[in-house]
Symmetry: D2
Subunit: 344 residues, 4 copies
């Protein structure tokens, strides 16, 4: 195995947020990466660091056009439409020992929104600050109205991972879709590989929106938001199309679907999983439909963003050893282990 | 602890299926149970045993008015509207060492249906037979078109659990709703307590539709269907309303929502969980919204029935020892353990 | 043409509302009708007359189990499953010169509801009283908070028209579905024939929920509610199945679909119209799909009830003279005209 | 009244389609217009003229990245975010005496699609050619499989009308949204004014996708598609925000909402209408909710595009003479009449 090229990409943390990237597509690349490169970088939190304590309300301190800043886009050398980008998360670690969450007026799953347009006034806006115990791997919740506290497992992940969309579109980093984007699934954690279909030359990969942890559905619209120090390996699978983002962990292959209503997001993710299992096992479509129907896990990712995201998970041991995507996950996993061994 | 009354209820397995119960509400009780009774009985499979091998097609051998037969209804002594019925599953065991699944014309998540009405002809109808290894706790899948096989964990559950609906309604056992019914969640396994709001005097509890296992979503519309030998304890919680069915296991409290579109089923389950956590912890609604948003698991139950069902799960350790429903789950768990000890 | 049997059916207006019919299915017939009978009767308003002025709030003066009382059910002689009931509305006239509307807590299209379950408190409850000018055919609107008034055209209709459901179900008169029920379409006006598939012997036809007028969608959940004096002719079309309710006016054939999400209600209504046009014209399904796509009108009926209802309308002149349902609408129209001529 | 500036904008009809505009946002302006300008131009049909006869199948002769070409974008002088663009359709006339429609694989309301992802193969692809009688104002339908013909009223309209989106987004001309775009409502006919909120400097207005007529819902996904000769007046209303596109005809004010599920598009359109009626009449929100609920017409626009579009219509006579948007529609109507008088 070749030694991967290691690329360090830093931001000017104090730069004008207006200069950051808030879209998938439409932005010039910040750097160019050779396939197989290991990228060490960090991502701003979704509020560009402006919400830090209980007295900071996003609607007052944030510009609504400057949410979910992306690190990137990175131009991937040799990537062309019809290829698949493999992004392996080597490590995702909170950059600071705190995170924030909030209710945001007219945003969230259990409130009127601009698209579930009702006549109610907005729910109260409020910010919660979480202290993170990075050694004990805990996230400390403190209630605002009572003295209740709770300790939740630290489980860092990225809400947004994506490439430039097709059809010349440029999409806000608040939206998920077939280009990835703001899928907000807790499955996007270290040790996982994300597969994204390439729509434009160079793919234009970016990511951000780190969460110290997140419930399935991101019900109130905001997870435990943190800046993240992340290490990813970016690789390229030529001439393999990936219509909707897929993930692979050591134990599961996973498909995603992002649309509304939520049953259509479910349908996309399940149909894509059925086709993938067929392809990997040689099962006919009906036989794969049957097997997936009995074996699948179907967690919600988000029910709050521009459209909603569902995940479908299939246990890899049922594939009888067939390696998805030509074994790229296992290869990147070993590469990541070698890197982590070296830095320990 | 008092010794529970043990009630054995048997069917005439060869009786005319037309005499079975296919609704929630509208049927005369088959027996009366005192709260706290332990009921030993069995349930037909969803096809009333008529689909047994690959050559049996449900559309040919079944009467569409005779699907999902219920064991019951049982009249629960003292149950009145505004009470909650607690149904603890002591054991759920496949009655035979086989199960069946199938595609059913114009039924399932990835096909046109009578309500997602399109112009496509139905997908091909086909039956899969599963051999069950009850000792090894395995379900054997065999493909129809190739020689692929797979072994899935046995995980027996009941698709339908419910009471008579409100407003004088009588609902088909194919439909889920606030009365329970055909929720089709794999969480309805042995060791779990299901809470159901009582709508009519006597509650009129029934259950059925056993599955040797089921994927989340029951994507093709049919799980691994089996007749079940089941033992349940039925208890009554007076003057506690339960607007939507809830579940409790040793590790989680769970809420359900059943409606369409699927995001509305998600909203019901999450709202109910937020209110329940508030009630158990004293958290304000907004604080509970925040805590649930970071801690919840949100698996799909079914996306195939008359309406769809979502589940929301919250770890009980975050409740700091508060026992939901006055500790009935723990009490019934002990009662079940004593019973199982006795029969071993 | 035979002289139709004329049947007068009166209620005891002061009877205990608990004795009225609030379901489709599950109630004993109030009378038996021969096919072709002309029925003269009246219907309570949806609040059973308890909301009469601005100070009457439905949540205070009504029993939630006693809304949308039905006149009926009527047993139709000879009706069997697989037949179609034709209900022709000869006249629909407000029984009194006033109507009421209201906002109802957690009910309506632009509010959180029990199934679009959010964390908002209910919108304010309020009642509006409308004076009706039956001579000028006007409905007088008066604002509550300002002095604004407006005159809207009187356009009387019935919100609920239906038969007993299939599968032994009993459904609340608040729900629409394939049995008809609470479809709440303004197309259900005098001069129109409604076709309903028969699910049980005798069909068990009932109707109610009169509206002096209604916007498309019934956005706030409540129309201008009035008791109605109505005359209908009930006829029977043997051995013609009607899977979803259809309507026919002098100018249009119409189909309905009732489900959620609303696009699925649209799909049902359009699919049923395409099949009906095919059947009437001999067009292939694809040719009918094409013609309907260019010619159809697609008004919303309701987006507030248990499920939502869409209507699809096709101009009859495009049928080149083919008479739907063997010409029953035209025959009943003549019968109605003769009757109205006689009573003038 | 000043004489409007008249601007003629022509295309090179034989130019490479790749050079046309297929997005809202992201394209350089083709011309700059002063507010009040009368623009005479034409628009390609949605297939860029490549589907002309029954043997032309869109999937074979079209590039999927080159559908719905726009005429524009036009830079409107002085337009800034927070303003409203008024686009008055003076005339819309088919450029040729024929139109085409088709079924497109996996596109349309009654078929599986990439987002209502099922396991069905696509419905058959087929093209229908319509002859247009521009003098008699008729559209001639001919069945493909039988000899059935029908004459439908000519009712020319534009499917796409829009400006550049907010948040730096670039959207395909196949998508509708709050920027307008592919709303596909038959209300977009001559004599109507469309109001669009300005998101970027210069607004970047474009339009296209002419239909000789269209049913409500555009059920098969394709209307009677034609190139159009169109005359529009483009005016600017400073410092008036328009969150979602609105329309005004001589008789109705109209609002639109575009999203999924369809009930949410309904909610947006109805909420926007309620707010607009409040603003024009001084009615409180609840009083406006009540009045709109009784008076509104709610036709479907499309249930086939990237998201779906609903329209809500309110009779202008109920506004008691208040002129929306400061009377711009009436002013442009007079300006249009003067122009049409001049060219007659």
């Amino acid at each position: 195995m070749n030694q991967a090229q290691i690329v360090d990409f830093d931001h000017d943390a104090d730069a004008d947020p207006a200069g950051l990237t808030f879209t998938f597509g439409g932005a010039a690349p910040v750097a160019s990466l050779r396939p197989g490169s290991l990228l060490r970088t960090w991502t701003h939190d979704c509020f560009v660091g402006r919400v830090r304590q209980e007295s900071d309300l996003a609607s007052q301190v944030c510009d609504p056009r400057q949410l979910n800043p992306q690190t990137g886009p990175f131009y991937i050398e040799g990537a062309e439409p019809g290829d698949t980008l493999a992004v392996h998360f080597v490590s995702i670690e909170p950059r600071y020992a705190w995170g924030v969450s909030s209710t945001v007026p007219l945003f969230g799953a259990l409130t009127a929104t601009p698209t579930t347009a009702l006549l109610h006034p907005a729910l109260a806006e409020r910010t919660w600050r979480y202290e993170l115990d990075l050694a004990a791997r805990l996230v400390h919740y403190s209630a605002r109205d009572t003295h209740y506290t709770a300790e939740l497992p630290l489980d860092p992940m990225h809400g947004t991972v994506g490439v430039a969309p097709a059809l010349g579109e440029v999409r806000s980093s608040l939206a998920p879709g077939d280009w990835g984007g703001n899928m907000d699934t807790p499955e996007m954690r270290a040790g996982t590989t994300c597969y994204l279909g390439v729509n434009v030359e160079g793919a234009m990969f970016s990511f951000g929106d780190g969460h110290a942890r997140q419930g399935e559905g991101e019900t109130c619209g905001v997870a435990v938001e943190t800046a993240m120090d992340s290490v990813v390996i970016v690789d390229l699978i030529k001439a393999v199309a990936t219509p909707w983002p897929k993930l692979e962990s050591d134990d599961f292959i996973m498909t995603t679907g992002s649309t509304k209503p939520l049953e259509d997001a479910f349908r996309i993710s399940q149909q894509q999983l059925i086709y993938w299992v067929s392809e990997l096992t040689g099962l006919s479509t009906l036989d794969s439909y049957q097997l997936v129907a009995q074996a699948v896990l179907s967690p919600v990712a988000n029910v709050v963003d521009v459209v909603y995201t569902m995940v479908a998970k299939f246990p890899k041991h049922l594939l009888h050893g067939v390696a998805p995507m030509g074994g790229v996950h296992e290869r990147l996993r070993r590469q990541a282990a070698a890197y982590l061994e070296g830095v320990r």
